[in-house]
Amino acid sequence: MKLLALQQSYLNRRSNSFRSSGPLDSYSDSAIKSPAAIFWIVLHGLSCLISLVLGFRFSRLVFLLLSTSSTNFYTSPFHSSSELSKTLDLHSVLPTNPVGNIPVPALNNTATNSRVVVGRHGIRIRPWPHPNPVEVMKAHNIIERVQMEQRSQFGVKDPRKIIVVTPTYVRTFQALHLTGVMHSLMLVPYDLVWIVVEAAGISNETASLIAKSGLKTIHVGFNQRMPNSWEERHKLESEMRLRALRIVREKKLDGIVMFADDSNMHSMELFDEIQNVKWFGAVSVGILANSADTNEMADQKKGEEENPPMPVQGPACNVSNMLAGWHTFNTSPFAGKSAVYIDDRAIVLPRMLEWSGFVLNSRLLWKDGDKPDWIKDIDTLDGNIENPLGLIKDPSVVEPLGSCGRQVLLWWLRVEARADSKFPPRWIIDPPLEITVPSKRTLWPDTPPELPANEKPVIGIQEPTVKHTRRTRTSRSKRPSKRKHDEARADRHTEIVSVNARNEMSFDGTAASTIGKSDCSAGLREGENSPAESKIQYTGSRGGAEKNSSEWERSLDRIGFPSKDKLSKRC
C-alpha cells in the first residue's frame, strides 16, 4: 500500500487519471534481492508510519542528523543515493549504498563527464537575499540607456524644445499641485523651458518650489492678486498666460508652447505627441469635474444605469480624420449648482475649451518671420481671450493631435482648499514638534477644531496633523492579538491636545492607548515575534512620553482622560 502511494504520488506529475501501464512496468522490476534492500524497505516503512503520525517527513530528519552537517547557505544538502532511493520508486537499479553525502549520479546510465546530476538539489540562497541598492541603481541606468536607444530609434526625430506656461498663485494647495506638474516636467526627455507666471508678484514659496526642479525656469510676477471667484480667476489666468506669450515673443524662444495649469495631470505621451504639431494643435482633455457633495450626484445617478463616461474636451474629427468640430463640456446639468467662489463646496466647472488643450509653435508668436497669415498678433488683441482659438482667425487650421483626439493625454481638475485654511509658510514646520503621538483615527472636521477653553490660541498650525501614523499602522497590522487589547480600551473620541508650547494639535483618543501600550510593551514583548519592530515603533512616543509625562498627565486630566496609573493596570 505504501509502495502504491509512493508510485501514485510520484507519477502523478501529469494528471490525476492515469493509465496503469506505466507503473506496472516498474512493479515487475522491484524484486527484492538482498537483505540490505529488505532492511531499507522496513526502515522506510517505519519512517513512513512515523511521518504519518508526526505530520512531516521523518526520514529526512533522520538523514539530516546522520549525515554531515549542512552549511547555512543550503536548505537541504545534496542527498545520498539512499535518500533518493527512498523518494523514488524502489528500483533495484539504484546502488544501495547509504553512507555519505557524495552526490552520486542516481542512475548508472548517465555519462560520466556530465556535471548535471539528476536528483534532489539544494536550493541555493545567498546569505542576505535582499536587493542591493548599488545593483538597483545600475539596473536603472541600464534601463535608462535602453529607453534612450528606443527613443532614438522609434521616437520623435529632431525633438523641439517645449515651452511650458503655468499660471499660479500662493495658496494652500499650490505646493500640492505645482509639485505634481513639476515632477511630470522633470520626466520629460526633451529640452524644456518653464515659464511660471505668478499672481500677486514673485513669492519665496513659489520660487523655492520651482528651484527644486532643476529645470530651466522663467519666473515672472503679475501685478494683480488672484480674485476669489472662479469667473474672475479664469479671466486673470488668461491674462497671465498672455503675459507669458509676450515673454516668448520678446525672448524669441523657439519651440512648442503648451499650457500646463498647475492642477492638471499630464501623461508622458502628451509630450511625445505634441512634438508632431506643425503650427497649431489641439489635444483631448479629460475633465474630472470635482464635486464635494457626492450625495447629490449619487441621487442624480440613480436614474441612470451606469456611470456616465468622463467628459472630454477636444477636437472632433469626421470619418476622414479631418477636424470637424469641437467636443466641449456640457454645463447644463450643473446650472446653478456650480461653484462660484474658490472654496465653495460645489462642483467646479471648466470653461468651454480649456487653454491646456492647445499647443502652438512658438514662431506663431514672433513679431517677424514666416508664419501663416491666420494668426493674430498678440499686441493687437484688444482685451482678454477666452482660449487660444481667439488668436487665430480661421479655426479650421487647427491640427488635431493624439490620433485625432481619440487619445486623452491630460486631465483637468480644479480642487482648492478652504479660504481660511492655514498652512505653514513653504510647508516647513520650524522648529520641529517636540511631542509626536500617533493617532488612530483623525476626524477631518468641517468646522474649525474645538479649542479647550483655557488654552491660549497659538500662532501656527490649527489643523490636525498626524505624524508617524503610517509606521504604527503597518506595525499594528502585523500584530492582531495586541490590537484586540487596544480596541477594547480605546473606543473613545476624546481629544487630546499636545502640550508643546509652540504648536497645538488635535488628536483622537487612542493616544492614551499608545502611552498605555508603551508601558505594557515591556511585558508584552515576550509574546512578540519581532522585538526589534516594537522597539522601532515605540521609541518616539515612549521617549516623548517619558520626557513630558508630567505635562501629559496634566493635559489628560484637564480633558478628563484617565490617568496613566489606570492605564497601566489594564495591560
Binding site: 492515469f18 537541504s76 548517465t110 548535471v116 541606468n141 528606443q150
Partner: protein, 417 residues
C-alpha cells in the same frame, strides 16, 4: 602631369574616406544586426535545390486518425511534428521518387496521446515508433539499405526519443534502439545527456504565431521592467519539498529575488503576459522538468533578452544561431548572484543583443507559421539536414549486414501497437 597624379590620388583617398564614414554612420543607428553562427551566415539559406526529401505514406492510423481523435495536438507545444508533416507534403523539396531522395521522413505522431489535461503520455510511443519502422522496413528497401541513417524523425517530446517525461526513467530507457542511426529532430538538447544523440537537430517548441502577433505593442513603448518571469517556482503537486523541480534553480530564483523591485516574477498568469514581455529588458528562461521551454521562443519574438538558466543546455539551431551573443547564460549555481550578473553587463552589450534580437530572420527562425514562410523553423530544419549532406559512404550497409538490434529495449516496447 605630376600634379594630376597627386590630384587623382587625393580624390581616391577622399572617396575612400567618405565610403568609410557612411556605413559607420548607418551602423550606429542600424536597428538590427546580421546573425551568423558557427556554421556561418546560414539563417537565410534556401534549402530548395540542396536536398530532396521523400515522405513515406503510412496508414492513417499513425497520423491522421490520431489527430482526429484529439485535435488539441495542433495547439500544444509539441505540435511541430504535425506541422512539419504538412509542410513537407507540399514543399518543393519533396520528391516522389525515393531513388533520388537524400532524406526520408516518416510521419508518425508519437506525441499526440493526450491526457484530459492535455499533456502527452509517452507510454505507447516506443511501440508506435517501432511499429512504424517495421512497416517501412518491410514495405520499402530504403531502411534496410542504411538501417535508418538517412532517415529523420521528429520527436518533440520532453526528452526526445527517450520517450518518457521523467528524467531518470528517460535516462534509463535511453534513445529507442531502432533510432540509433537515424537523425533525430527534437526540442530537447542537453550536452552529455543520453537523450541527445550526436548529429541531432534541436528545434524550438511550437508556439502559435498568430496568437503572438495579435499581442504586439508599439515598439516605442519604453522597456521599463528589468527582469520578467511568470511561471511556477515550486511544483507542489509533484515535488512538494522542492529541490527536485528544475534542480532547485527556480526555487532559488524565488527565494533570492522575491522582494527585489527589479525582478517582476510571480506565478500568476496575467492576460497581459505577452505585452509585459515586450516591456521587459530581460526574460528569465529557467529549466523546468525539462531544460527547454516555449519561453525562449516568446522572448525572442518579443525582443526580450533571454536569460537561460539550464546547465549544459543545447538551444535550437545552435549551429546557425550564436546564442551566446544573443542571450545570457547563467549557471544554476550562480543563480543567487543573478542580479549582480545582469547589472554588470555593459549597456553596449545589451544594446547589441537587442539589435540581434530585432533581426527579423531571427524571429522567423523560431516560428512555425502556417503557411510556411522563408527563413522559418521548417526551413531551418531543412537547412540543418542539408548541411549534413552528402552522406558518408559508411552509412550504406552491405546487403545482409545488420547493425541494429531489433529486440533491444524494455520488454514492454516489443509488444505490437
Amino acid at each position: 602631369m605630376g600634379i594630376w597624379r597627386w590630384v587623382f590620388i587625393g580624390i581616391l583617398f577622399l572617396a575612400d574616406f567618405i565610403v568609410k564614414i557612411e556605413p559607420f554612420k548607418l551602423g550606429r543607428s542600424q536597428p538590427t544586426e546580421r546573425i551568423s553562427g558557427s556554421a556561418g551566415d546560414v539563417l537565410e539559406d534556401d534549402p530548395v535545390g540542396r536536398l530532396k526529401v521523400f515522405v513515406y505514406e503510412l496508414p492513417s492510423k499513425y497520423n491522421k486518425k490520431i489527430l482526429q481523435k484529439d485535435p488539441r495536438c495542433l495547439n500544444h507545444m509539441f505540435a511541430a511534428e504535425i506541422y512539419m508533416h504538412r509542410f513537407l507534403l507540399s514543399s518543393p523539396v519533396r520528391t516522389l521518387n525515393p531513388e533520388e531522395a537524400d532524406w526520408f521522413y516518416t510521419p508518425v505522431y508519437t506525441t499526440c496521446d493526450l491526457t484530459p489535461n492535455g499533456l502527452p503520455l509517452p507510454f505507447k510511443s516506443p511501440r508506435m515508433m517501432r511499429s512504424a519502422i517495421q512497416l517501412i522496413s518491410s514495405n520499402w528497401p530504403y531502411w534496410n539499405r542504411t538501417e535508418g541513417a538517412d532517415h529523420f524523425f521528429l520527436v518533440p517530446h520532453d526528452f526526445g526519443a527517450c520517450f518518457h517525461y521523467q528524467e531518470e526513467k528517460a535516462i534509463e530507457r535511453g534513445i529507442l534502439p531502432l533510432l540509433q542511426r537515424a537523425t533525430l529532430v527534437q526540442t530537447f538538447g542537453q550536452r552529455n545527456h543520453v537523450c541527445l544523440k550526436e548529429g541531432s537537430i534541436t528545434i524550438p517548441p511550437y508556439a502559435p504565431p498568430q496568437k503572438m502577433q495579435t499581442h504586439l505593442i508599439p515598439e516605442k513603448t519604453p522597456r521599463s521592467i528589468f527582469v520578467y518571469f511568470r511561471g511556477l517556482f515550486y511544483d507542489v503537486g509533484n515535488d512538494p519539498e522542492g529541490g527536485y523541480y528544475a534542480r532547485g534553480a527556480r526555487a532559488a530564483v524565488w527565494e533570492n529575488f522575491k522582494d527585489n523591485p527589479l525582478f517582476d516574477i510571480s506565478t500568476e498568469h496575467p492576460t497581459t503576459y505577452y505585452e509585459d514581455m515586450q516591456r521587459a529588458v530581460f526574460c528569465l528562461c529557467p529549466l523546468g522538468w525539462a531544460p527547454w521551454s516555449p519561453r525562449l521562443v516568446e522572448a525572442v519574438i518579443f525582443g526580450c533578452i533571454p536569460v537561460i538558466i539550464a546547465d549544459d543546455i543545447v538551444l535550437p539551431f545552435a549551429d546557425a544561431i550564436p546564442w551566446e551573443e544573443i542571450g545570457v547564460y547563467v549557471d544554476e549555481k550562480d543563480v543567487p548572484n543573478l542580479d549582480t550578473i545582469l547589472t554588470s553587463i555593459p549597456p553596449e552589450v545589451i544594446l547589441r543583443k537587442q539589435r540581434l534580437l530585432a533581426n527579423p530572420s531571427m524571429k522567423q527562425a523560431m516560428l512555425f507559421p502556417q503557411p510556411a514562410q522563408p527563413g522559418d523553423a521548417f526551413h531551418q530544419v531543412l537547412n540543418g539536414l542539408a548541411r549534413k549532406l552528402p552522406h558518408d559512404k559508411s552509412v550504406y550497409l552491405k546487403p545482409g549486414e545488420r547493425v541494429l538490434n531489433w529486440t533491444a529495449g524494455p520488454v514492454g516496447d516489443l509488444k505490437p501497437w
